[in-house]
């Protein structure tokens, strides 16, 4: 009986496992194998030659290859950290606002918030590149009305990456607000009623009921926000091309440049493996942190 059950489970799982194996595991293993090879993406795999850790030495070395990779890694880290730090609190604030059914305009706010997530990135990129225009951009014109001088936005290495982060926050916050609302609906109303009877004010209710019970939702949101941010590509490819001075050159864009444009498949794979490892470390650390808090 158990044997028959196992066989039937195996048959049922086989299509999904095969698909995952072919389309996820094989490319991952191939990338790991390629990161130890010197290989041009325009040649067959048979022409790859083993170089050991040579590609890693190169991407962490002092030549332009190493400098560009380290800059891209740092840019991706800053972009991810800023995105998560801005998106999560904003999504909770907006979620709380939208969740209050008696607040006027709540439905309109919910619609507006989520609509940004539905706009295709190509349209977002086109509009925001014009909004950020240093000379004729509406953002600078609005700042001018309140006496603030024109900002360079995408034209300065100091502000270009932050400008791309703001664009990302604008587009993604609606989606994460929906996740926050979903988390809020899971909190029993009786807890708030009891807290109110005990004399807890709104801030205390947030601190001792809402925030602790939203922790799992926020963990999920953080993981998704990190993965989304690490994979950023379109705004960089469409607006800045990684510039100025490589200040918006993020890893996905850089890997595409190295691996496809320059056909340096081995180097590109080493960079992709480093990206994958960084992501795994980051997400694992986040889970460990939240689990430790839970056990405390």
């Amino acid at each position: 009986m158990a044997k028959a059950f196992r066989a039937s489970a195996g048959i049922m799982l086989a299509p999904a496992v095969t698909l995952i194996g072919v389309f996820v595991l094989v490319p991952m293993l191939l990338t790991i194998w390629l990161c130890f090879q010197d290989w041009s993406t325009q040649t067959p795999f048979s022409e790859a030659s083993f170089v050991g850790l040579g590609n890693f030495q190169e991407i962490f070395g002092s030549t332009s290859v190493g400098r560009d990779f380290k800059t891209a890694l740092l840019n991706t880290t800053i972009y991810t950290a800023l995105s998560v730090v801005l998106i999560l609190p904003l999504s909770v604030v907006f979620g709380l606002l939208v969740y209050q059914r008696d607040v006027a305009g709540g439905t309109a706010l919910r619609t507006v918030l989520f609509s940004t997530y539905m706009v295709p990135m190509i349209a977002v990129a086109l509009v925001w590149s014009k909004l950020y225009s240093p000379s004729e951009g509406p953002l600078n014109q609005m700042l001018g009305l309140v006496g603030i001088g024109p900002q360079p936005w995408l034209s300065s290495p100091r502000s270009a990456l932050v400008s791309i982060v703001l664009l990302n926050v604008w587009q993604q916050v609606g989606y994460f607000t929906v996740l926050a609302i979903a988390g809020l609906t899971q909190i029993p109303g009786s807890l708030y009623e009891a807290a109110t009877l005990d004399g807890a004010n709104g801030r205390e209710q947030f601190r001792f009921i809402t925030f602790p019970l939203l922790r799992r939702t926020l963990l999920f949101s953080a993981v998704i926000a990190i993965i989304n941010a690490v994979q950023v590509f379109e705004p960089v490819a469409l607006i800045t091309q990684g510039g100025p001075v490589g200040s918006t050159n993020v890893l996905t864009y850089h890997i595409r440049r190295v691996g496809i444009e320059r056909a340096q498949g081995g180097l590109g794979s080493a960079m992709a493996v480093m990206l994958m490892l960084s992501l795994m470390v980051c997400v694992s650390a986040l889970f460990a942190f939240v689990n430790r808090k839970d056990s405390e």
């Binding site: 325009q42 004729e136 300065s156 100025p244």
Partner: protein
Amino acid sequence: MSLAWISKLALAAGLIGLPATGCAQSVNISYLTHWSPETVALLEAAAKDFSKQNPDVAVTVRAVPFGDLLTTLRSQGGSSDGPTIGGIYDLWLPELAKDKLVAPAPDAVASEVKSAWPAGVVSAASVGGTLYGIPNEIDVYALNYNKELFKAAGIAAPPKTWAEFKDVAAKLTNKDKGQQGFGMINSWAAGVVHPFASLLVSNGGNLVKDGKPALDSPQAGETFALYEDLIKSGASVPAMATADANTTGPFLDNFVSGKTGMIIMANWWESALKTGMGDKFANVATAPIPVGPSGDKPHSISYSWMTVVNAKAGEAEQKAAWQFLGWLNSPKSGKNGASAMSDILMSMGILPSRSSDIEAHKDKLGSEFLSGYVSVLADARPFPVVLGGQEFSESLQQTLEALQYGQVSAKDAQANAQADATSILERAAK
């Protein structure tokens, strides 16, 4: 008639029709370019004319932004379903040929090209003596300046030397009006490197000499120092220099709107200037690159584009592609003895490279804007076409941008640029 007889007759008719269908089978070829929609429409019209004469060949045109062109060629060119024809920048050819992505030109095409194009252009479309593409355009850099701004600043003539250049740039700079004397470009490799290289060759230097980087020369040192001076004096503002993936953006907007007095750019941006400036385009004039302290006379950088055929495409597709390209670039396809390709190029202000096309478009090439470019062509130096050239170009771009934004000194920029170029070219040559 019974159903059985009807079936037999239908089968017989079908069998008779089969060979005829096979004979009339059309060949579909595709052409990948980075041109704007208006120019793509001209190419599509030419393709339609070709298909009228060759009903068995259908040509479709696909356009991607310039920033995606090489990636698209590399990612799709390795398959028989990828674009059959691609317009490429000569710098990319050595690596595309090394990776066997582009097909050598058939003998008939090669001999036609060798007899009808200038030798320098033919050499830029060849690797190891084998011709890979049909050259079509040649681009050269010169100094563009705004005559109205010159007049307002009391400047009578464009600068001829670097000393005059710095002086004029300072006079044209007006921070209160948000006006810069000389416009640099950033966030676009060719836009950063080509103007710098034009100033370098006008100072008697070279980017690459005998296959090795020559950025450690005193002439290169003076060129890096010139950039540093222009930035430090405020005559050039890097925040006004950004370009986007379509090679437009603030650097163009600032010149078009009269916020930039001078800029070093190639002839092909004539159409962008006309679109952006309208009647004010008449204010734009062209002059040779100012000569540096170590230079003998004005020089600038030139480069060429060509059309290549996908080596992985089927035999019939490759044959049709060469046939189409041969027609498109021949004097029979355009107006008044010009090729259809040159008519398309001239619509954008791009100089055609075929000798007969230059003759056929003599009048238009004599316009105030383009004649300035034509006049510097004879002394222009081709941008070095070497293995690893694109990576070298992107690396130099990063160094120059760091210099523009004051992140490195001219001296450090020179040392970094030479070290990076040496490592890149050595690795690519392996």
